[in-house]
Amino acid sequence: MECQSILQDLSLFLDRELALRRDREVHAHLQRCSGCQATLQELERNRDLLAALPRVPLPPALFGRVVAEVSRAAPRTRLLVPPRPHRHLVRRALAAAAVILVLFLTALTVLGYYSEEPGLDVAGQPLVNRHALDSGAPLMGEPPLWVPASYVPGEVETWP
C-alpha cells in the first residue's frame, strides 16, 4: 500500500516538485524499497532518453514557403482575438430605431385622435366636432368626435 502511494509521487520527486515533508518521506522509503528504487531509475532513464533526442534540422526550402504565404495573406486579422463585428453597436442602433418607430406611430395615432383640425369623410365632405355641436364648445379633455357636417344634434342616427 505504501509503495502504491510512493509510486504516484515518483515523477514529482524526480522533478523536485514535492513539498519538503513529502519529499523526505519518499526519500526515506526509497532507501529501503528496491522495487520503487528501480521504478525511479527507469523514470530517470526515460527522462534522459527524451532529453537526448536529437534536434531535427529545419528544411531549407521552408522559409520560401512561409514568406510566400505571409505575402499572400489576406488583410491582417488578429490571431488570438479574431475580429468580430461590433455587435453591441448594431444592437444599440436597432433598439434606437425601434424606439423611434414606436414613438412615431404613437405620435401619429395620438395627434390624429386628438386633432382639433377636422378632416374629410369618405365622400370628401368636411367633418365637424360633435361635442361642439352638442354643447356649443368642445369639452375639455374629451377627444373630438368627428361627424359629417350634415349631422343634426338629437336626430336618431341611421347608418346606410
Binding site: V66, V67, V70, R78
Partner: protein, 183 residues
C-alpha cells in the same frame, strides 16, 4: 518588439531564430517530417502575420502555445486519417529516409544507433495528445511546470498530473515498443 521596425529582413531574423525550435517541437509532437513541416509553416506564418497580437513577455511561451494549439487542432481534425511515419531521426539530426542511400555507413550500426530513439519516438507518438504535449514540453524541451501551465493554458495541478501520468504511460509504451522490436 516594435512592429514598426518589421521588414523582410526582420521576418527572416525572427524565422531563423525561432523556426528551428518550432520545427523540432512540431516533429516531436507529430513524429512525422511532412506534418512537422506543415505545422511549422502554419505556425510561422501566424507568428509573422500576427506579431502585433503578442502582448509582450515570454515570446517562446507564445510560440509554444501557437504550435501546441495548432497541433491539437490538426490532430483532432485529422484523427480519422491516421498516417504511419516511415522516418527516423539519427543522432546527428539527419533523417534516416535521406541517410539510407548513403552506403558508407553500416546499416547495422545505424539501426543500433537509432534503434532506441525510434522506440522513444514511437512510444511518444502512442501517448494521448494531452500527455504527449506535456511530456514533450517537460522532458524534451525542458520547460518548468509553470512555463508548461502558461503554454498550455491549464492549471499547474493539471500539469503535474499530466506529466506524472504521461511518464507512466510512456514507460509502458516504451517497454511495449522495445518488446515488439525484439520479437
Amino acid at each position: 518588439m516594435d512592429r514598426q521596425q518589421l521588414s523582410a529582413d526582420s521576418y527572416e531574423a525572427i524565422y531563423e531564430e525561432y523556426a528551428p525550435f518550432v520545427y523540432n517541437l512540431a516533429y516531436r509532437y507529430t513524429g512525422n517530417r511532412a506534418e512537422a513541416e506543415d505545422l511549422t509553416q502554419e505556425a510561422m506564418v501566424r507568428v509573422l502575420r500576427f506579431l502585433d497580437s503578442f502582448k509582450g513577455g515570454a515570446f517562446r511561451s507564445w510560440l509554444y502555445r501557437i504550435v501546441t494549439n495548432l497541433f491539437l487542432t490538426r490532430l483532432r481534425r485529422e484523427r480519422r486519417l491516421p498516417r504511419q511515419s516511415l522516418e527516423r531521426v539519427l543522432s546527428n539530426g539527419e533523417v534516416l529516409e535521406e541517410a539510407l542511400p548513403d552506403r558508407s555507413e553500416d546499416p547495422a550500426e545505424i539501426v543500433e544507433q537509432t534503434g532506441i530513439q525510434d522506440h522513444v519516438q514511437s512510444a511518444l507518438g502512442a501517448l494521448p495528445e494531452n500527455y504527449r504535449t506535456a511530456l514533450v514540453l517537460r522532458d524534451v524541451e525542458g520547460l518548468t511546470y509553470e512555463e508548461i501551465a502558461a503554454a498550455l493554458d491549464i492549471p499547474i495541478g493539471t500539469v503535474r498530473s499530466r506529466i506524472s501520468r504521461g511518464r507512466d504511460l510512456f514507460r509502458t509504451e516504451l517497454g511495449r515498443s522495445q518488446k515488439a522490436g525484439i520479437n
